[in-house]
Assembly symmetry: C2
Homo-oligomer: 271 residues x 2
Amino acid sequence: MIILKIGGSILTEKDSTEPKVDYDNLNRIAEEIQESLYADEISNDLIDGLVIVHGAGSFGHPPAKKYKIGEPFEIEDYLEKRIGFAEIQNEVKKLNSIICESLIAHGIPCIAIPPSSFITTHNKRIYDFDLDLLKTYIREGFIPVLFGDVVIDDEVKIAVISGDQILQYIAKFLKSDRIVLGTDVAGVYTKNPKTHDDAVHIDEVNSIEDIKFLESTTNVDVTGGMVGKVKELLDLADYGISSEIINANEKGAIAKALQGMEVNGTNICRK
Amino acid sequence: MIILKIGGSILTEKDSTEPKVDYDNLNRIAEEIQESLYADEISNDLIDGLVIVHGAGSFGHPPAKKYKIGEPFEIEDYLEKRIGFAEIQNEVKKLNSIICESLIAHGIPCIAIPPSSFITTHNKRIYDFDLDLLKTYIREGFIPVLFGDVVIDDEVKIAVISGDQILQYIAKFLKSDRIVLGTDVAGVYTKNPKTHDDAVHIDEVNSIEDIKFLESTTNVDVTGGMVGKVKELLDLADYGISSEIINANEKGAIAKALQGMEVNGTNICRK
């Protein structure tokens, strides 16, 4: 089974203050998934199932910031926080609906599973997550689609749950074969490749030592939290789950990665 | 705790072949719910929580019919059925999103809980339904919104689950205090009131005997399955849960019913 994560920066215009879908990317990626699913010779991992996780992009980040979700608040502000929760949940659901519409138009039997309808967190980390229904959908040949969402938290009341956290959790507990992470850069570089011409690409990361130099540079945050991502993926590598980070803006990259072909990116695995 | 069911015929133009929202009814009803929730003197039942269940109307029925969901099918048609499932799920989710948007705009902290993300059925009847998260949302002061949907069935593979079945299940297992059913007629009549001028309204139904004459008339189906509804509500009455069927097209009817005021309709309760 493969988990495909598609970043919010790929599917939406992330810096837009208004929620805005990047339809060119969305429809192209839906086509690539379709091509991979119905290819004559497809990887066995894919026959065993595919789960898609997507980010919230400009549908989730602006309202989450507006309502300061995750920050401590006074009890008299709880009604406003709840309205914020409702608003964010509805916005990310709208994005998910648009994504599913494109997948369905490409003949992909997807099923949306909003995290807010079955996940709760303890201090912003997942602790209650019943995977039975997800397993049932996969067994029946559906492609579950999960996404960054807001959830009830037993400490901070209301929390944001990122697509990355969901990815990590389901990869571990559903024992996925591998992970494909579609971001807006082709994996890990020595410097931020968007701003540094002399950035050198890293093909493979096997341990935390390999990315130590990244943390000492000043561009850690600019890379879109790449260090954090790699650390979580190294954690999965300990369970035998390898990942590859690819540039989903590159035409054909997702199709190739899903079918197990070589593609420009960074592999995260234990030696 | 009160469960408010709003029929698909109220929130959508049910006979439309294209999915079409009845925005006048939707926004008016959202206003009535807001008014009831924030009224100075509200019924104690409402302080204890509100759950909203809505039908799928013209968003669910046409695609469910198109893909013949619930009917037996050959295994080679399973991919097409799954696409149908995906399409219906996405359509009803869209309707739910529009409904939530109106509720949120009226200051109601609603949370959508799609049945397909936590319910499965056995031969079209619910058998697996974890109510813990629903309880958590109610406890935290949210208004959960559920709706007619498609679900995985262990016999027929794919089944439609009606808002009425969800209503009955959660009323029983969450032990709701009472139920308000907003339909397009003010409850039970001796004949279909839309086509018969001499139809006489029935104020209260206490037993199956009271509606026996309805089954012997020829207009059973024309009344929109009213006999079936009443039978299920009588079943709940045995658990001490009384219901009232009201006309949600009538301005103020839902607001009054939620606040425990008298309203034109039919009460279903045991004597």
